[in-house]
């Protein structure tokens, strides 16, 4: 009998263990995106914008199904506490998915932002991160979503479904922080811009960080060029050959960064092997059933891609002097002990880099 009573007690106790934490899902305010802008020092260091799922809007089917709130605070934690004064449900970061940083905030030390998200057990560190050019994160979060129920949904869909999209640099928060930690704060991540007076959000281009601070921007074309070295996915290349203009869709690429050290002189060879298809042609067409013409076109495409890679390297070495393309990482893998002896930041702008590109055309669509 005693055993039965004890068993009953234990069975009953288990489901009631968490009564103190009971919160119905409808009583939670899920923050899905946060935008951080630089605030005025008199009212707090940050101006933080939150996108919160609004259950009432969700039920009524209105678009967006979210509420946007902006709060000033000395820290992110304080801003979230202040946010609670405006929201009737318990604020939760369990479904937090997007973090945007305004341009001015981006120029501040990024480590100050990392801390809150890494410490918070509610946050899954795979959330997406973007830096806003020519504007504030607040403006982007106030854009109206066009294809999804919220701006964060739209942003996540862009990054998840077109993961290897060459005009942007997709990295999750965790991946980007790992990049920065491995390179003393140098890295490259997606840029976000608002167009038509912030009616629409664009996910394109790149933001370059040096020593944990935003140092400059890459355009779509420059990001595409950088992605020849960093990205994996398909890329479109425009190549002029004679009177014709060909659009080449690169599908597979293998890029090797080969460091060479001779008498303490460091040089690199970037070898790229790319295969893809001709997807469009303008002007007087070449006869692509002739293998000679195909080989000529392959050489021309290789030259175009080679130029793009050189431009990307030039921008990295001479404009920013930031190794976001991973040359130092390649040298470190090759000779870690030698790499430790170097002041890589100082040396990087002066190392010589050779580029070799080999392109193959697999098919030219359904017509010759």
């Amino acid at each position: 009998m005693k055993k039965m009573v004890l068993a009953l007690f234990l069975l009953l106790a288990i489901p009631f263990t968490g009564c103190w934490d009971i919160r119905d899902v409808s009583n939670r305010a899920y923050i899905t995106a946060i935008g951080i802008d630089k605030g005025q020092e008199t009212i707090g260091n940050y101006r933080i914008t939150f996108e919160i799922i609004n259950p009432a809007k969700l039920r009524s089917g209105s678009n967006p199904a979210t509420t946007i709130e902006t709060v000033d605070g000395a820290s992110i934690g304080q801003a979230i506490e202040k946010l609670q004064t405006r929201i009737p449900q318990t604020v939760s970061l369990d479904h937090f998915r997007v973090l945007l940083l305004g341009e001015e905030q981006g120029k501040e030390d990024f480590r100050d932002i990392i801390s809150y998200f890494e410490k918070n057990p509610q946050v899954a560190l795979r959330f997406k991160l973007g830096f806003v050019q020519h504007g504030r994160a607040e403006d982007i979060l106030n854009c109206k979503p066009r294809c999804e129920k919220s701006i964060s949904d739209e942003y996540v869909a862009m990054t998840q479904l077109e993961k290897d999209f060459s005009l942007a640099r997709d990295r999750s928060f965790n991946q980007f922080v790992a990049d920065l930690r491995g390179s003393e704060g140098d890295g490259f991540i997606t840029r976000v811009t608002g167009i038509e007076e912030n009616k629409m959000m664009l996910y394109h281009g790149g933001a370059v960080l040096k020593n944990w601070r935003l140092t400059g921007w890459l355009s779509e074309e420059e990001t595409q060029a950088a992605n020849w070295l960093l990205g994996k996915g398909s890329t479109t290349v425009i190549c002029k050959k004679g009177d014709s203009t060909y659009t080449y869709g690169a599908e597979k690429k293998t890029v090797h960064i080969i460091p060479q050290v001779a008498e303490d002189k460091i040089s690199f060879t970037v070898k790229a092997k790319i295969s893809g298809n001709v997807i469009e042609q303008k002007g007087h067409p070449m006869d692509l059933s002739n293998p000679k013409n195909v080989a000529e076109l392959e050489r021309a495409i290789s030259q175009v891609i080679g130029e793009q890679v050189k431009q990307a390297l030039d921008k990295s070495q001479n404009i920013f002097a930031v190794d976001y393309l991973g040359l130092g990482k390649a040298l470190h893998k090759e000779d870690p002990n030698f790499f430790k002896t170097l002041d890589w930041r100082k040396i990087f702008p002066f190392v010589s880099i050779k580029v070799s590109v080999e392109t193959t055309i697999n098919t030219f669509g359904l017509t010759e």
Partner: protein, 369 residues
Amino acid sequence: MMNKFTPGRWDKVDPRAAAAVIFMSIVEFEIFMQPKKLVVFAQQDAWLSILIGSLIASAGTWLLVSLAARFPQENLFAYNRKVWGRPGSFLIALGYILFWIVYLVVLFKDTDTANKMLFLPKTPSLVPMLIFAVSAAWLVSYGISALVRFFQLMLPLMILPVLPIYIMAFRWVDWSNFLPVLSNGWLPVLKGAIYYAGILQGLEIILFLSPFLRNVKKALVPSLIGINLVNFTVLMHGVIAIGLMGPDNIKVSIWPGVDTIQLLELPGFPVERFELLFTVPWITAVFTSICLMAYLVSYGIIQLFHFPWRKGTIFFVSISAVLGTYLIPNYIWTLKIREIFYLPTLLFVYFLPLLTFIGAAWRGKRGNS
């Protein structure tokens, strides 16, 4: 003294159960923490430390089974008297009990902290901890046969939810995180390997399970399967953690294992938080380890001090361990204890049994078959 451990006819356990017992005894909350310490030692080569540490652990398992097979009807505390004499064996047994008590308290503290951070932040710590303690004491009071059967039943609950996560995680592993290989030479890797071998608390159950096995010699292969199942789990978790997080992120994380699972995503799939799949294995792993430690401490005290109150001792030990968590001022201290706990583990799980084995062989001591 031995009558408490003399098994009845129906208490005998099939030696094949050793695999489940070892796996369920060793795997606990630490699986979420150890990638950090291994990476601190060996950086991106932590996986090599796990592989070499696995060899040490396998050798240790062989040693423990060989020692147990030499005295098939007795447990370590009993045959220690033949090898070390009365005072020596008493001190060693006292050392083991202290080692298990500290470990049990740390286990409760870890469970409480994780519970507060991840699941029930506002619930008073005492409530879930007492439920764990009372349930564990209840199970332990039925003896090791009940414990073994419970471990066998729980094994699928531990493994099945974890496998799909491992398979899914491999898709996201960035293999460049493992390069360069051996950039700091072999020494850090070997240090990591010794550390790894030293976190396998619970392996010593072999020395206390043996009198209950139908044939101790036949337990060698299942025991090796059990320990290597643990090694495989830790290797998978380590590889996924390094591959997904990178060594630099792991170093600053408290529970890289939890962070790793949080990083998984399946685009377009409605489930966002895959770490919830780890809830059942986590609770199972922690509960079985608590049960094992409560068993070892309680029966150790009963055997050593000839206590007649079996149930009373078990409940007293379990509840005292819960109260013991209040002696640890904060979680930093738990981490500090965890950091150095591999040293006593090396002593009690490998070194003392090795000396006992050598001593028994040297003096020709052997138990009855």
